[in-house]
């Protein structure tokens, strides 16, 4: 213990944070709720004084890169800081703060050791290819997430893994060393139990054998492979290249060559005005060299930044003595310098190419992994490539958004780390962290430029002048999507909050330096928009959050966007209303409608809501009427829904009645768009909905037409029941071929469906409609092995009356059973010979009604009708299969309503991200449905 006095406690309490020195240490004193705490004052990430940072919620945020530390414990709260802050004991005596300058044993000492991982070693071998930042961070994160199996890291560079940012900054100036930039602390790799194989290049991946070939001729087996092969400096084929040394900067070797070259040069030409080029220019200026930057585009960073910040950068470079040649094509290089296409010569004795980087995707590409058009290995939200055993992280990975399909590759320190962590979580099976706002920094001409969010060159941009200017990119709805700051980190901090809040802002107020940005938030941001409140699990489509099934707000949005949106909703069969005046009460989603045949023979679907006082005027389930008369005030409507009579419209004795502007033509009941397909009637609230044929697509239409071939239908009757679950669980159930053999023992027992049967789960290209199909087989053909897999299988049970299971071939189809989902609310059932449609009528998030209409064909003979009726025992609320699905759906909703909130796991068959799969042990069809749902819902 070594106690040292410092300043009065009152001063700390007054200022909140004060920098002090004690015992030769730079320390920070913070007052939190009256109590005083001491920590080291220098950020563990880069050199900055924390007392100049922002204190909030018991944490201090580093002013430089927004690293966050818990003041009480010193714990680093996430990127970019990874190392905890030293903390010191304090006491107050006679009003003075005393500090014990021997640091407290911090969280640092508890760094997770390999052996501490718990449940015993994981049998899976992880191999990481690439020993850069991402690779090393993955090795570290795997252990932090509790992965206990063997981890080997193979890196082509001989040097221990290091971070690249200093290469173009302090390292060039000799202000730091490569050792300082190393990712691992001394001894850390051993502690993690990571086998480092450095200076060794991998030459091929054999996915079938799960082996990596190495340049020394050996092979390395893996169960999970992580590609972290980074990027390479883009090479330019320039005439005259052989006459000079062309520098570029990607790795330590490059930096070791470039540093002395800059020092020896007098004039430096940098080809390429990207961040690395500008940083090199900045370093060369710091060394006092003449510097020219040659950029082919007409401005700097044209593909990345909007004009405002790019021009500011150009201005700063110019102010710092950099000669900028914009819109300048390079004709060639020579010992004299760089010749431009317009004939000018940029004299230089040191030429550096800073033309960006190309992803090092050669290994993955050769192994047949899916790649992006612009290069790089495609990955999902968890970092998995098209081969579920291979992940890709860092600069080489291109994340494809599962919903929009947008492909993004990021080259940044933060992404290297965050993508490594995501992959590690996915591999270790721990929950993925919520995505961070992208962040990038560049040190230029003595200042730091920072970017939060994803800027784009064409976004409208607002400039705001604080201590230094900052730029805010806005989207079409005037929401801040990115912030670019050059010298006033406070503006970036506020920018991040604006990005997170997702609220539209007034550009004029944003630009006005007199508006307090933190107040903009308080005034306008009481309620976060729906897409910020309901965020999908970071893992992506292999999870479905409970709120999808239980939230009233989500339900209301479904009604608006799906059932009342551009969808075709089944309302009934034409055979239910054969004569003019015949009508039935039915629904579109939850909304009551009337389907009625008029005297022209057409079928109309109108809302069951009187245009006078909203009464649901049609009360009978079905009937025949010449007109509809609302019982309340006797307004009457014709069979097309037109208002035909208003009692006392003109008043009595010239008194009362409707005004002269009342036009009955404007007050009919709401009419829906109607279409028919071979006797099935569909309605839509949307005028824009495509034709039913386009809505279904050819493949789905063929399955539909098998049941509705145009033969006249005979209605056999209805079932109605309520299910205590969210309505989507029903279509999901029919996109879940996995359950069929497991839940429905009956099917298996009597050989209707067995694993290994010919079967298919077909999804339409948009992911909304689907057909689950199977072909009947003999129980006898179930292999012993398959029986053992299915707990449900019971031998030796036979039906006394096998007529139930007889299949009369009547369709031109390879399938004896098809269960088709016509999104959103129709199921077409063809269970051998029992035919029916099921209409979903949602009643709120936790319940729906299902209306079944069972039918045959008008030309069925008596025996066929009876056969259909007998086979009906399989389905419906008391059906052998039907009742089990109802129960299962209820159990699922019970689980969500009664236990702690969370998410579902729908991860079977990861090889098919979403869509048609050729195995039944798959949830790819459910994922496809949610991909579509999320697109429709904007969530």
């Amino acid at each position: 213990m070594s106690w040292h006095p410092s300043i009065p406690a009152a001063e700390v309490r007054e200022k909140g944070a004060v920098a002090v020195e004690a015992d030769g240490l730079r320390l920070a004193l913070f007052a939190l709720e009256g109590e005083i705490f001491a920590t080291a004052n220098i950020c563990t990430h880069a050199f900055a004084l924390l007392t100049e940072g922002h204190v909030e919620g018991g944490c201090v945020e580093c002013p430089l890169h927004q690293g966050l530390f818990d003041i009480r414990t010193g714990k680093a709260q996430g990127a970019p800081v990874t190392k905890d802050l030293a903390t010191y004991a304090v006491k107050v005596e006679d009003g003075t703060v005393w500090i014990d300058t021997e640091p407290r044993a911090g969280a640092e000492a508890e760094a997770p050791a390999f052996a501490g991982a718990g449940q015993g070693p994981d049998p899976r071998r992880v191999v990481i290819l690439g020993g850069g930042q991402a690779g090393a961070e993955a090795a570290r994160a795997l252990r932090a997430e509790g992965f206990a199996g063997p981890v080997t890291l193979v890196g082509a560079e001989a040097h221990a893994p290091y971070e690249r940012p200093p290469l173009s900054k302090d390292l060039l100036l000799g202000r730091t060393t490569l050792a300082e930039a190393e990712v691992f602390e001394p001894g850390e790799a051993e502690r993690l139990g990571t086998v480092l194989r450095l200076g060794l290049r991998a030459t091929a991946i054999d996915r079938a054998a799960r082996q990596v070939a190495l340049e020394d001729g050996t092979a390395l087996g893996y169960d999970i492979l992580i590609l972290a092969t980074g990027a390479e400096a883009r090479r330019l084929a320039l005439p005259g290249a052989e006459t000079v040394t062309l520098h570029s900067l990607r790795d330590a070797g490059d930096a070791q060559r470039l540093g002395p070259a800059l020092r020896a040069a007098s004039r430096v030409a940098v080809i390429g005005g990207g961040f690395i080029g500008l940083e090199i220019a900045s370093a060369a200026r710091a060394l006092g060299r003449d510097v020219a930057v040659i950029e082919a585009q007409d401005r700097l960073l044209k593909r990345l930044l909007p004009e405002g910040p790019a021009e500011l950068l150009a201005w700063v470079a110019g102010e710092n003595g950099v000669a900028l040649h914009l819109g300048a094509a390079v004709a060639g290089v020579s010992p004299e310098g760089v010749a431009l296409a317009d004939g000018r010569l940029v004299a230089a004795d040191c030429i550096v190419i800073g033309a960006g980087a190309v992803p090092g995707d050669a290994l993955g590409r050769a192994a047949g992994l899916e790649t992006a058009t612009a290069g790089g290995i495609l990955v999902n939200a968890r970092g998995a490539t098209s081969d579920p055993a291979i992940y890709a992280i860092g600069d080489v990975a291109v994340a494809r958004d599962e919903i929009s399909g947008a492909e993004t590759r990021m080259e940044s320190w933060q992404n290297a780390r965050a993508s490594a962590l995501r992959a590690a979580c996915a591999i270790a099976g721990t929950p993925l962290p919520a995505p961070e706002t992208p962040w990038f920094w560049s040190d230029l001409f003595g200042g730091t430029l920072q970017i939060a969010g994803l800027p784009a060159p064409d976004l409208p941009t607002v400039r705001r002048d604080g201590d230094a200017p900052a730029f805010y990119c806005l989207d079409a709805a005037s929401r801040v999507t990115a912030c670019i700051e050059f010298g006033d980190p406070e503006l970036l901090r506020l920018g991040r909050r604006l990005i997170a809040s997702g609220q539209p802002v007034d550009p004029a107020r944003l630009a006005d330096p007199d508006t307090d940005l933190s107040l903009i938030e308080e005034d306008d941001m009481k309620m976060l928009p729906i897409e910020k409140r309901f965020t999908w699990p970071a893992s992506g489509l292999d999870r479905v959050p409970d709120w999808v099934y239980t939230s009233r707000e989500i339900y209301d949005r479904e009604i608006e966007r799906i059932f009342h949106g551009p969808t075709w909703n089944y309302v009934g069969l034409a055979a239910e209303v054969p004569e003019p005046g015949d009508y039935i009460r039915t629904n579109v989603g939850p909304t009551p409608v009337v389907m009625v045949r008029d005297h022209d023979g057409g079928i109309n679907v109108v809302e069951n809501r009187c245009s006078h006082r909203a009464a649901e005027f049609c009360r009978e389930l079905r009937g025949n009427a010449e007109e509809f008369v609302c019982p309340y005030h006797q307004w009457s409507y014709d069979l097309k829904g037109n208002l035909s009579g208003v009692p006392f419209r003109r008043g009595v004795n010239g008194e009362g009645g409707m005004g002269p502007d009342f036009d009955p033509a404007n007050h009919g009941v709401r009419k829906l768009k109607v279409t028919q397909r071979n006797g099935a009637v569909f309605a839509s609230f949307s005028e824009e909905v495509e034709s039913f044929e386009d809505y279904m697509g050819a493949e789905m239409l063929a399955d539909f037409d098998t049941v509705f071939p145009g033969r006249k239908l005979r209605v056999l009757g209805h079932y109605r029941h309520t299910l205590m679950g969210n309505w989507k669980l029903y279509p999901e159930n029919l996109k879940d071929p996995y359950h069929a053999t497991l839940l429905h023992t009956f099917l298996v027992t009597f050989g209707l469906l067995v694993a290994g049967n010919k079967s298919a789960m077909i999804v339409d290209p948009r992911g909304r409609h689907s057909t689950m199909a199977s072909a009947k087989s003999d129980g006898a053909t179930v292999s012993a092995e398959n029986k053992a897999e299915m707990r449900a299988y019971r031998d030796g049970m036979v039906l006394e009356d096998p007529r139930l299971m007889e299949f009369v071939e009547e369709f031109d189809s390879p399938w004896s059973v098809t269960m088709q989902v016509v999104w959103p609310g129709l199921i077409v059932q063809r269970e051998m010979n029992t035919l029916g449609v099921r209409q979903i009528v949602p009643n709120g998030p936790n319940e729906f009604t299902m209306v079944w209409t069972m039918f045959g064909y008008e030309d069925d003979d008596e025996e066929m009708t009876r056969h259909r009726l007998r086979q009906g025992n399989l389905m419906g609320p008391a059906g052998f299969l039907g009742l089990e699905d109802n129960e299962a759906i209820k159990f699922v909703q019970d689980g969500m309503l009664n236990s702690t909130g969370g998410e579902h796991l729908v991860a079977l068959d990861p090889k098919v991200p979403a869509g048609t799969s050729n195995t039944l042990i798959s949830e790819a069809a459910i994922r496809a449905m949610y991909r579509h749902w999320r697109q429709e819902m904007g969530l």
Binding site: G717, T722, R794, D801, G876, A878, G882, L883, E887, D894
Partner: protein
């Protein structure tokens, strides 16, 4: 003098109907006891070999639509249902209790067949719904066949429920 001797045409008298009603009430009490507390596999034995059994909504029945939640032709099919429910079906634990009342004999045919109706209600109690709820209310339209050894068997039972909306699932027969 019993109406159950098959030779002569059975008389559709007031007394015969009264006697039949008593027999039906006894029959139904046993029937309910088997469904509520007994072995489901005994349930098919209340029917003749050729019996017809149907549970359908009033909506269907009134419009002459033949579909049934359960639709069985013959005792073998009833046995298959009992077996399937007892041995293969997955459903949550529950108690079901059947009540039959207002027995009406509507006719006695010359062959001895007794035509009758009876109202029924079915109360369902689930583990998560211990207070129980009405599951079905309706009427049975029955045909009973007097058996040579005494007693009755159903040759047809059509359960017509007014409660159109079935709560979730109907797992046991009515």
């Amino acid at each position: 003098m019993s109406m159950m001797t098959g030779e002569r045409a059975a008389a559709d008298t007031r007394a015969a109907r009264r006697e039949a009603r008593l027999a039906i009430e006894e029959f139904n009490a046993e029937y309910c006891a088997v469904l509520d507390d007994g072995d489901l596999m005994d349930w098919p034995d209340f029917f003749t070999a050729e019996a017809f059994y149907n549970i359908t909504s009033r909506e269907n029945f009134d419009h002459g639509r033949p579909v049934g939640l359960v639709y069985c032709e013959g005792r073998a099919m009833l046995r298959d249902r009992a077996l399937a429910i007892a041995k293969t079906s997955m459903f949550g634990p529950r108690y079901l209790r059947h009540y039959m009342a207002n027995t009406r004999v509507t006719g006695i045919e010359p062959g001895g067949t007794i035509c009758a109706t009876v109202n029924y209600i079915l109360i369902e109690t689930l583990a998560e719904l211990p207070e129980g709820r009405l599951h079905q209310a309706g009427r049975m339209i029955d045909r009973f066949e007097p058996q040579p050894g005494g007693g009755l068997l159903l040759s047809s039972r059509i359960a017509v429920y007014d409660t159109l909306l079935v709560p979730n699932a109907l797992v046991l027969p009515v």
